[in-house]
């Protein structure tokens, strides 16, 4: 592209901010005098907010990166972004831990003859790749590229690179490939795509197996949509699943299915709705192909009551805008494709396709393959037909089912080149390692779904000698003397954007970091004959004594985020286990086997077995066992031959009690609230807590009285708030040993409480900033006191560490530094400079993000006005995907918290203690 255009675009995308990535001599270590403030560059104490896109999972949420003194210190969901609109999940929050991960590859490495990795320069490394590519080509061996899911310009560049260098691009690897769904839609409508579901447009949502709030395609986006939907009157959400997921816990009603009976349920619904004659009729050949499932049969197979099944059909019929989403566990089964097909039919039958199910805005999964492709790769490797194998931003070695024996077969490739970020066990299987830059260090774009373009722009200089994938491909092209139009990937991107977008769009893209593009309508036609052929012959599985469900984990996605320490520190929302693997089991089943939490059992399926501690999971079906999928890579799970999807429900599992117990960090002291009303029983709504008589006169607040409201109807227990709090407030990550002793440091935690029926409620618990705080008067040195704005302040410098305040806190939200907090380099660069570091021996706790209040106050003072409502957003509230947490001034009668705190649903936890918390919870319903 023209140099003039480039510079123009550069100016557009960089603004007045610094130009990270431009300075080559960043380690010059020159001290800059700030006598004369620089026009652009690092201003101490002033933070920059840059747009970017999250790369921690394929969802592609928009980010706002807070950059302070040249370091990214906080990620926030980008408000208005079409994918996440402001929220960010705990994995997104933890993405900074990947950026500053101590185990990141710092430079290219090559394995020497002795199997040791030796550093080499990029120049040497790339030359080696080019030579090996050439040699393999001459030997007639295939050069392959296996990449994780890419979208946008990088995909194009990758294709270009492959074409030019004769590298065969394999279908991209994702373990959550949604292959069954895509194949089913392909069969039914000729569109092998993953559509975009519009929960916010529905009045009845029936989700089957799809873990919408954990890992399914775009969890933050779906949580956001859910929060919009639930504000409509009469919104109902039914979730059917064999196990217990966070998604199920948040549905209006959770329908517990026998494993494998999803297809039976769908067949029944299809037939029942068809026979009602109210909805559009299905083609006859399809009807004939449908397995005939009567209500009785369906009840027997699914385990649901006949009456409930009938009612479900009626609910679907009565709903004006029903939406069905099947996926996840429901399609990760031997009959998963059938389930997906039946779901597609029901969607068609009830008229959701095209309205609440948008293929025009399909999620960008077309380039993603399935495990069949990995199987094929394994075969080719075995036949010694692979020369150079490039693996980019994917970890098939750790994720693929053990049956494929990929690590063994990998060795047959001529040269295994890994483009990855962490020097972990999988990385050690490669011959040549090329360190990948973190998305926050790179230029790029993403198209998470059709019609959404999201910007990646470096927020800081690369910490290590790393490159982005785009830079590597361009560099390789150049070295092979192939035409590479651009000098850098940045220029390549600018060129693409310049060509595709007009002036106004470019401007918008640069400013807001994302762009909504018009999409073309996708014509869909039900291909009845093809579908009927595929439906036939599929039968419903029969439940075995023990079924084992490998549930996807909200903490690590498919396991990729498991290496981020913060995500092990945060407990699993349902079991509250932080460190360690566990086997979830129904309390009744455990009682029958005389098992308690932490008792070891041996689980075996086929020739695989594992010894795991038990964790009781209220609400789980008695015959179902549950393991977090990411925690069990060694299980040799079968692959569904029809869809190429990983089968994640095992039947005929054997269970053996071992008689000993293991250490397992379970953070909850009890999964029941023992009738204490932390989350009020919905049956007692009318009960108005009696007005507390006060012993002391209330003390006044002058201008501000900060308060928070937490809407439990919106809270989904995803713990994004807790993760955001960790990062914002430099909360130390203390590790497994201290977790086993009950010394986690979280300032904000999600407390799941289960009722008798196993229904879960989630309570975010943080410092309640009580008006009459029990922690304050017991402090001998005034380290805890009530400030004039209603904050319960903890002065670290005064604290002598008597821990009396923590003892006297009824909410138990204070945290003591048992050790000197450790930040393994370069993690210390992540610390928020606005906050005091705490030493050992000091009590700490939630401050209501006092540094953010201070920032807002400074701004308001500069502009000579009071702080506006909504101007202070706490880190937890910012991150919340559903916007459940609001913060503001209780003295301002126009503020949201004032209104919410006076709502009929408002209550305060342990109000009867007279502590007068500043955190108001809004009960469900």
């Amino acid at each position: 592209m023209e140099r003039r255009d480039f510079l123009q675009l550069l100016g557009l995308f960089s603004g007045a901010a610094m130009l990270p990535g431009c300075s080559e001599n960043r380690s010059a270590g020159k001290l800059v005098s700030y006598l004369v403030p620089p026009d652009e560059g690092v201003l101490p104490g002033a933070a920059l907010y840059l747009p970017s896109t999250c790369g921690e999972c394929p969802a592609g949420c928009g980010l706002t990166v807070r950059v302070s003194e040249g370091r990214a210190v906080k990620l926030e969901g980008r408000a208005g972004h079409p994918v996440n609109d402001g929220g960010l999940c705990m994995r997104g929050q933890a993405a900074l831990w990947r950026l500053y991960h101590p185990e990141r590859l710092r430079n290219p490495l090559r394995r020497d003859g002795a199997g040791q990795f030796q550093p080499l320069s990029w120049d040497e490394a790339l030359t080696l790749v080019v030579e090996e590519l050439e040699q393999a080509r001459q030997e007639g061996r295939a050069n392959l590229l296996l990449s994780g899911r890419t979208t946008g310009t990088l995909t194009e560049l990758q294709q270009h690179f492959c074409r030019q260098l004769g590298v065969e691009p394999l279908p991209q690897f994702e373990i959550f490939s949604h292959a069954a769904l895509r194949k089913a839609y392909g069969i039914l409508f000729g569109q092998a795509e993953l559509p975009h579901y519009r929960i916010d447009q529905a009045d009845l949502l029936l989700s089957i197996g799809a873990d919408l709030l954990e890992t399914f395609v775009s969890p933050v986006g779906y949580a956001r949509q859910f929060s919009r939907a639930i504000k409509q009157d009469g919104f109902q959400w039914l979730h059917a699943e064999p196990h217990y997921s966070l998604t199920g816990a948040n549905a209006t009603e959770r329908l517990v299915l026998n494993p494998g009976s999803e297809a039976a349920l769908l067949s029944f619904l299809l037939l029942r709705i068809e026979s009602s004659g109210q909805e559009g009729r299905l083609p006859r050949q399809l009807l004939r192909a449908l397995p005939a499932v009567s209500a009785g049969q369906a009840a027997r197979l699914t385990g649901l009551a006949e009456e409930r099944l009938e009612r479900l059909a009626k609910q679907l019929l009565l709903a004006e805008r029903p939406l069905l989403i099947a996926g996840g566990i429901a399609t990760g089964q031997p009959n998963g494709l059938q389930t997906a097909l039946l779901a597609g039919l029901l969607q068609q039958q009830l008229g959701m396709i095209g309205s609440r199910i948008e293929f025009a805005r399909a999620e960008n999964y077309a380039a993603v393959g399935s495990l069949h492709d990995l199987q094929r790769l394994a075969e080719r490797l075995e036949q010694d037909r692979v020369g150079v194998l490039l693996v980019c931003a994917a970890d098939p070695l750790a994720r693929a089912p053990a049956a494929l024996d990929l690590p063994g077969k990998f060795k047959r490739a001529g040269l295994r080149v890994g483009l990855c970020d962490l020097f972990d066990d999988s990385a050690r299987q490669f011959d040549l390692l090329l360190p990948l830059s973190h998305p926050l260090e790179s230029w790029g774009d993403a198209v998470p779904r059709k019609g959404v373009l999201s910007l990646l722009k470096p927020a800081l200089d690369p910490l290590h000698d790393s490159r982005s994938a785009g830079e590597v491909w361009l560099e390789l092209l150049r070295r092979s003397a192939k035409p590479a139009e651009s000098a850098s990937y940045q220029e390549y991107l600018f060129d693409v954007w310049h060509r595709r977008l007009d002036e106004r769009q470019l401007q918008q893209f640069a400013e807001q970091g994302y762009l909504s593009l018009p999409v073309a309508a996708v014509p869909l036609r039900l291909q009845a004959e093809r579908a009927a052929g595929q439906l036939a012959g599929a039968e419903t599985a029969v439940a075995a004594p023990w079924s084992l469900v490998l549930a996807p984990s909200i903490r690590s996605f498919d396991g990729r985020s498991g290496s981020l320490p913060l995500l092990s520190e945060l407990p699993d929302p349902l079991s509250t286990v932080s460190y360690g693997r566990w086997l979830a089991m129904a309390p009744a089943a455990a009682q029958a086997l005389q098992l308690e939490d932490r008792d070891l059992v041996r689980v075996a399926a086929g020739d695989w077995s594992a010894d795991l501690p038990v964790r009781l999971q209220p609400g789980l079906a008695a015959s179902v066992l549950m393991i977090q999928g990411d925690l069990l890579p060694e299980a040799s799970l079968p692959i569904d031959p029809r869809s190429g999807e990983l089968v994640r429900v095992l039947d005929g599992v054997r269970l053996e009690k071992l008689g000993s117990a293991a250490q397992l960090a379970i953070l909850a002291g009890s999964s029941s609230q023992h009738g204490r009303g932390l989350i009020p029983d919905p049956a007692h709504h009318a009960e108005i807590p009696p007005e507390q008589s006060r012993f002391y006169r209330a003390h006044p607040h002058k201008e501000y009285r900060w308060a928070m409201t937490v809407d439990l109807e919106l809270c989904i227990g995803c713990a994004a708030c807790a993760a955001a709090c960790y990062v914002e407030n430099n909360v130390p990550v203390v590790g497994r040993r201290d977790h086993l002793r009950g010394r986690e440091m979280s300032w904000l935690r999600i407390e799941p409480f289960y009722d008798q029926a196993g229904r879960a409620g989630f309570l975010p618990m943080l410092c309640q900033h009580c008006h009459n705080a029990p922690c304050e008067p017991v402090c001998p040195v005034y380290a805890a006191y009530h400030n004039p704005e209603g904050l319960n302040v903890q002065v670290y410098q005064r604290c002598v560490g008597t821990r009396y305040c923590s003892n006297n806190c009824p909410y138990k939200v204070r945290r003591f530094n048992w050790w000197q907090p450790q930040w393994q380099a370069p993690l210390e660069q992540m610390r928020n400079p606005d906050l005091a570091a705490r030493d050992r021996g000091v009590m700490e706790k939630c401050t209501f993000c006092v540094q953010r209040i201070r920032r807002a106050r400074d701004r308001a003072r500069d502009e000579e006005r009071p702080i506006r409502d909504g101007e202070v957003v706490t880190a937890c509230g910012q991150s919340c995907p559903t916007g459940a947490i609001r913060f503001g001034n209780l003295l301002d009668e126009q503020s949201a918290v004032y209104r919410l705190a006076r709502s009929e649903r408002a209550y305060r936890v342990f109000a009867e203690l007279g502590t007068e918390p500043s955190v108001y919870y809004l009960r469900k319903g």
């Binding site: 509250t576 953070l667 909850a668 002291g669 009890s670 029941s672 609230q673 023992h674 009738g675 204490r676 932390l678 201290d738 002793r741 009950g742 010394r743 986690e744 935690r749 407390e751 409480f753 309570l763 618990m765 029990p774 008067p777 017991v778 402090c779 001998p780 040195v781 005034y782 005064r798 604290c799 002598v800 560490g801 008597t802 821990r803 009396y804 923590s806 003892n807 006297n808 009824p810 909410y811 138990k812 945290r815 003591f816 530094n817 048992w818 050790w819 000197q820 030493d839 050992r840 021996g841 000091v842 009590m843 342990f910 203690l913 502590t915």
Partner: protein, 431 residues
């Protein structure tokens, strides 16, 4: 038979204790010193690493250290009870025990005073608790029970020291007369030139009365204030009005038991049988029995209040104490503090020193366990069920606890060899 000969014999008998120490004494002293040094080492380790080396956790922020603090303050109580309260009540048997009991008070307070320091997160700034203005002219928070503790314990310590010293003054003068060499000079200085003139005796008598009058409310108040560390809080099981009398009774119970534990071997080793009679032991055993009954009553009242009050937090907590994670300790406490002392209703057992000694050991154990159960169960099982947790002491805490006993007995052994263990000038009145 208030004869000169009897007085002379008394002096000889008592001062025999100050003779060159024997093999067993030195061995005992060495063992105690070793325990103490070990604890110092462990404290150093804790200081260098952080409080993480203890078993303390969230939500149990107070454990063995505070248990030890309350325990040793409790032990310190019978000293004042015997020397001050029984003085005012003119109980004659008090002179058999008062010196040892007063010394015990001081040593127990010295040990007790260490524990708030050991338990602090940042002991290097412990002086923040003292009443002085910081560089920002901020004073300590006088609303905090911990500051009351600072005042109560230091007041108690100072008053006890004065009381002890005053009582020792005439005896030091006797030691001055009866010993020679450097020791005579030391006792000479310490006795401040006491001659026993009627002018000195007159002031002595008055001061003794005043101090007894000042110390008597301290018996009630010091452990009341220690109990308010808990009672002022909001926790179920701590927040109760019965705590002050309950703690005072418990303190006297454990202190009395400790006096028996100290004096029974002392009487035997120093052959003080003529001066400390079985009758005296019986009298003190009755105090033990009485306070045990009061403590048992308090246990009952606690449960009664919890269940009659029908507060769900209280009810659950008291259920947890008896049947939860720490139930073994709870029942051990009931057996040691409530059931075993009941046997002292039998006169024969009351007068059997070996039995009395054994009962006292059990009561001491029981009272330590009582404080542990009380402190830890309330913290482990309070309002928010999510935050419930259990605490197990670490070997560092156990080591430091053993070391505190080492320090206490070491100090007492040194006392036995340096100060007349019976109040000679008082006993002379009785002869």
């Amino acid at each position: 038979m208030k004869s000169l000969a009897a007085r002379e014999k008394l002096e000889q008998d008592v001062l025999k204790g100050l003779r060159r120490p024997g093999k067993w004494y030195l061995l005992g002293l060495a063992c105690c010193a070793l325990l103490f040094l070990g604890a110092l080492g462990l404290w150093g380790y804790q200081l260098s690493r952080g409080l993480g080396v203890t078993g303390l956790m969230h939500p149990v922020g107070w454990g063995v250290y505070i248990t030890n603090f309350v325990f040793w303050v409790g032990i310190a109580h019978s000293g004042t009870l015997i020397s001050a309260v029984l003085f005012l009540f003119r109980a004659r048997f008090r002179s058999s025990f008062n010196r040892a009991a007063e010394a015990m008070t001081i040593f127990a307070l010295m040990v007790a005073g260490l524990f708030p320091l050991i338990h602090l997160g940042r002991v290097w700034i412990f002086y923040y608790l003292f009443p002085y203005p910081s560089q920002r002219t901020l004073w300590p928070n006088f609303r905090s029970p911990l500051v009351w503790d600072v005042f109560a314990i230091s007041t108690y310590m100072i008053v006890s020291l004065v009381f002890f010293y005053l009582g020792t003054l005439p005896d030091l003068a006797i030691a001055r007369r009866r010993l020679s060499g450097i020791r005579a000079r030391i006792y000479s200085v310490l006795s401040l030139g006491w001659t026993g003139s009627h002018g000195q005796w007159k002031q002595y008598g008055r001061l003794y009365l005043f101090l007894a009058a000042f110390a008597t409310p301290l018996v009630a108040s010091v452990h009341s204030i220690v109990s308010w560390d808990f009672a002022v809080s909001i926790l179920p099981g701590w927040h109760t009005t019965i705590f002050a009398p309950y703690f005072v009774a418990g303190a006297i119970l454990s202190g009395t038991a400790m006096v028996i534990i100290l004096v029974v071997p002392l009487r035997r080793a120093l052959q003080l049988q003529p001066y400390i009679s079985i009758d005296h032991f019986e009298a003190i055993a009755k105090i033990l029995l009485l306070t045990s009954l009061i403590v048992s009553y308090a246990y009952l009242v606690e449960y009664g209040l919890a269940f009659y009050g029908h507060n769900q937090f209280e009810m659950e907590l008291f259920r947890y104490r008896a049947l939860g994670h720490y139930r073994a300790l709870f029942w051990l406490m009931i057996v040691c503090n409530s059931l075993v002392p009941l046997t002292l209703f039998i006169r024969r057992l009351r007068r059997n020193l070996a039995y009395l000694f054994a009962v006292s050991l059990l009561v001491t154990l029981g009272m330590w366990v009582e404080r542990f159960v009380l402190i830890v169960t309330s913290l482990a099982h309070d309002f928010d069920p999510y935050a419930w947790g259990t605490y197990t002491p670490s070997w560092v805490e156990i080591g430091i606890t053993c070391g505190s006993f080492g320090l206490f007995f070491m100090l007492f052994l040194i006392f036995v060899k340096t100060v007349p263990v019976l109040s000679m000038s008082e006993l002379k009145e009785r002869l």
